[in-house]
């Protein structure tokens, strides 16, 4: 008896059978930041990971480039595979063990070999979500794939768009719930989507209040990638990428991350494209330009400075105070 439930119940009914949980479209950034899980009380009740944006997920559909896939001997003498999958927002960690379909283990060996030979493997997986805790108390996310397959770029692009869309829906819900008392009723009254309320209540109680705006950045990046744009902004706070060359003569080298000059070029191009695409005839106002630059990971100061440059270079005109147009 659960009088509070206004959603389709995730609990088992009298029959003890449970509906299949949907596969939530999820970018790595949101998933890997999670540290909360909820387990049902019944033997067959599903487990959920709850993200900061309030997604309550038992099953996820993720995609990206396979970055690593390595065998590990378990204490019971069987082999499991651990791997990472990189998407537009970060890295997913996953493991394939003997608790999963045998077919996947065979495939994993094949993919691991392909990877060592340097084949790029763009993959999609439908996976169960899992959190685990290390001895020092840190919480990590993991995925246990049920289905895995190699996909093409357009399937990946479509997944990026779907994930971006799903993330934005959660961002919008989380934004509506911001600053409110943590209760389902308050969230519902603020217009939070019904299927997000339960997860958001749990998320807020665990993670506290925060500005979901940060997720827009990765959403923009995902959309940029899906559209096949070049000059996509770097993810902020990413460690320097160390490329390991597997060829015998190869040595480790560090990617040149000191690319300030390129950054400015990217920023200028970004501003140009914003003004070009958002101009409905009257030009585009300053706030909109800055906000869109911020959403792509640039600081407002940098964006402001770059805009000034573009105006003085006569690429863009400030035809009216605070309003900008492409110079004709």
């Amino acid at each position: 008896m659960q009088p509070s439930s206004t959603q389709p119940s995730t609990q088992s009914g009298s029959t003890g059978r449970i509906r299949r949980q949907p596969a939530v479209r999820m970018l790595a950034q949101e998933y890997t930041e999670s540290s909360l899980q909820e387990r049902g009380s019944g033997q067959f009740d599903p487990n959920f990971v709850i993200t900061k944006l309030g997604a309550k997920i038992n099953r996820a559909i993720v995609a990206g480039l396979l970055e690593s896939l390595q065998p590990r001997e378990t204490s019971s003498g069987t082999t499991m595979w651990q791997g990472t999958l990189r998407d537009a927002s970060g890295l997913h960690y996953f493991s394939i063990g003997d608790f999963q379909d045998e077919g996947l283990l065979v495939k994993a060996e094949e993919w691991s070999k392909n990877l060592q030979e340097g084949d790029p493997l763009l993959m999609m997986m439908v996976a169960k979500t899992r959190l685990f805790q290390s001895d020092d108390g840190a919480v990590y996310t993991s995925l246990h794939p049920e289905e895995m397959c190699i996909i093409d770029g357009s399937t990946y692009a479509n997944w990026l768009v779907e994930s971006a869309d799903a993330t934005m829906r959660r961002v919008t819900s989380a934004d509506k719930a911001r600053g409110l008392e943590v209760s389902a009723q308050a969230f519902a009254e603020a217009g939070v989507d019904a299927d997000h309320i339960e997860g958001l209540v749990l998320a807020r109680a665990h993670y506290g209040d925060f500005d979901p705006e940060v997720y827009k950045l990765t959403v923009m990046r995902a959309l940029d990638l899906a559209e096949g744009k070049s000059g996509v902004a770097d993810l902020p706070n990413q460690p320097k990428v160390v490329i390991t060359d597997n060829s015998p003569s190869g040595s480790e080298k560090t990617e040149d991350n000191d690319n300030t000059a390129t950054d400015i070029e990217v920023l200028r191009a970004t501003i140009e494209s914003i003004v070009r695409s958002a101009d409905q005839g009257d030009g585009v106002d300053l706030t909109k330009i800055i906000a869109n630059c911020q959403a792509r990971g640039f600081s407002s100061e940098d964006a402001d400075a770059a805009l000034d440059e573009l105006v003085s270079d006569k690429v863009i005109d400030e035809h009216r105070f605070g309003w900008f147009k492409i110079h004709e």
Partner: protein, 565 residues
């Protein structure tokens, strides 16, 4: 300030139990204060109990003066499983799952009590066990979602089922406030909300139909007089069943407090019992009975198995007479009809001659107070009396293309509605089952054979069939898609012999694997019908098609939608 209070509390404990370990007592008060924000004065009794149980002192002397608690020793447990049927004076930390206050006559006196479900192991992640409880002196600290420590409760065993009694002398200490929604079961909710709810609800609604009915007890021990009907507000309508005398006429506005939502098949029903309070409500702005009755007319897409008193307007496409002999040997006639409306198609069974002739068809009819049953997921509107069928002169909608009457719907919408016929939906393929390909069916019942064995008919020679099974998912719901012989061959663009050749080459597993490679992560459009039950949704496909999505276009649509340039 707090320190002072703690020192005072420590002194108090020591004065009562001189042997107590002073530092331990102090620590305990500090813990309550810091971890649970319980001031020392409120924690006094708990700390005293703990000190007593540590010292092995029976709680008799001090407790009796404090209000007559049974002189049983404190039994502190972590798990409900540790409790025996005779255990009393128990201390346990639990999470409150539900809490329903009611007024009940106990020994001729009305008493406020509460009942609900609680769950042990509230701090752990692992398996949790739920028990029912009864609170004999409703504590304001018992709220759904709260984690509490209950001191002085006892086990009640009735017909082999154990529950907890929270007694008048028990104490309830809140350790963590509930973050979950608390719907006060005495606060009215809309009927739309009540339809989704479980358990106790309070609503305000107008009676739009009501009739006396009799329920025959299953064990043949007699009958119960009940009243059935329908109640509505401007958000929807809900059938009710009153186990108590109910004399309110159609049109009366009522406030119904503490009624229970029960589900029959897929249909929620509001039950009025002994503890339900029904009173006349005054609200001059409330929609009148006629408006509500009109707005409670449903469409085919809204039909639910088990629904009663349904009024629907639909177009009757066909009507065929069918004679059969029932179990008692009587010859019966049933008229089987096909109904459509802009939201879908379904069947109708009429147990009387409604006088509609073939040359009148198709005809738009209004079917009143009908029952809905479903067979293999297809809703069937059942008519028992000729007066339930009203012919309508005019169609309330434009012409429906009967040949091609397919309703497009989102997968997550289909999952929420009842079973439907003639639908089309699209979602991502997230799983392909290994058993795609050739299967063998029982020649008697068409069940799938396992090792040449039918579940019902035993060892049989099977007939061969082709099918594919996969799961599609839109991120909010999933559905299992079953693709039979014809649509499978059509999708693969081959015939039976071509299919056999392909299967001989790839093997059954190889075939499933090739389907995975070509379908996983892709959008699949499925036309067919759905069967929705508590286990989820199944879609029986008439045809399937992979849809190519233009990611660039989709991305720019998404940007527009969310204002991301």
């Amino acid at each position: 300030m707090a320190d002072e209070a703690i020192e005072k509390a420590v002194k108090e404990v020591l004065s009562q139990i001189p042997d107590a370990d002073e530092d331990m007592v102090r620590e305990e008060f500090v813990r309550y204060h810091k971890e649970f924000v319980i001031p020392p004065q409120d924690a006094m009794r708990s700390v005293l109990r703990k000190v007593q149980s540590n010292a092995g002192i029976v709680a008799a002397t001090t407790e009796q003066s404090a209000g007559g608690i049974q002189a049983a020793p404190l039994k502190k447990v972590e798990r409900l499983a540790e409790l025996g049927p005779e255990d009393k004076n128990i201390v346990i930390e639990v999470k409150i799952i539900t809490h329903n206050p009611v007024t009940q006559a106990v020994r001729g006196r009305d008493r406020d009590i509460a009942f609900g479900t609680l769950e042990d192991n509230p701090w752990g992640n692992d398996d949790k066990v739920r028990w029912d409880y009864k609170d004999w002196a409703p504590s304001p600290n018992l709220k759904p979602g709260a984690i509490v420590r209950i001191e002085g409760c006892s086990v009640n065993e009735y017909q082999g089922k154990r529950s907890l009694n929270i007694n008048q002398s028990s104490r309830v200490i809140v350790l963590q406030e509930g973050a979950e929604t608390v719907i006060d079961p005495t606060e009215p909710m809309t009927i739309a909300e009540a339809i989704q709810a479980e358990g106790m609800v309070t609503i305000v609604g107008r009676v739009i139909s009501s009739r006396d009915d009799v329920i025959t007890k299953r064990d043949g021990s007699g009958t119960i007089d009940v009243v059935r009907g329908k109640i509505a507000d401007d958000t929807g309508s809900l059938g009710f069943l009153s186990w108590e005398p109910f004399t309110h006429q159609t049109g009366v506005l009522l406030k119904i407090q503490s009624a229970t939502i029960r589900r029959f098949r897929d249909t929620p029903e509001l039950n009025f019992g002994r503890t339900t309070k029904v009173e006349i409500f005054h609200d001059s702005n409330f929609a009148d009975a006629e408006t509500l009755a009109e707005s409670s007319v449903v469409t085919i897409s809204q039909l639910r198995d088990g629904a009663k008193d349904v009024t629907i307007i639909a177009q009757l496409q066909s009507l065929t007479e069918r004679k059969f002999t029932n179990a008692e040997g009587e010859e019966k006639i049933v008229y089987a009809g096909q109904l459509i409306d802009p939201t879908g198609q379904c069947k109708s069974s009429m147990w009387c001659d409604v006088g509609i002739t073939e040359d009148e068809l198709p005809i738009v009819v209004r079917l009143e107070n009908a029952r809905v049953r479903a067979w293999q997921g297809i809703p069937d509107v059942t008519i028992d009396d000729v007066n339930q069928v009203i012919r309508l002169e005019q169609k309330p909608w434009d012409d429906i293309n009967v040949e091609n009457h397919v309703i497009e719907a989102k997968l997550s919408e289909l999952a929420k509605s009842g079973s439907r016929v003639g639908i089309s939906t699209a979602a991502t393929v997230v799983s392909v089952r290994d058993d795609c390909g050739i299967i063998w069916r029982c020649p008697e019942c068409r069940r799938t054979l396992r090792d040449d064995n039918c579940q019902v008919h035993g060892s049989v020679t099977g007939t061969r069939d082709v099918r594919m099974r996969m799961v599609i998912d839109d991120g909010q719901a999933s559905g299992s898609v079953i693709i039979g012989n014809e649509p499978t061959l059509e999708f693969l663009d081959t015939d039976m012999s071509g299919f056999e050749d392909m299967l001989a080459e790839k093997g059954q597993f190889g075939f499933a694997q090739s389907l995975r490679n070509s379908l996983l992560g892709r959008q699949l459009k499925v036309n067919g019908r759905t069967i929705v039950d508590e286990q989820g949704m199944m879609i029986i496909a008439n045809d399937i098609e992979v849809i190519e999505v233009d990611a660039v276009l989709a991305a720019s649509e998404s940007r527009d939608k969310w204002g991301l340039l």
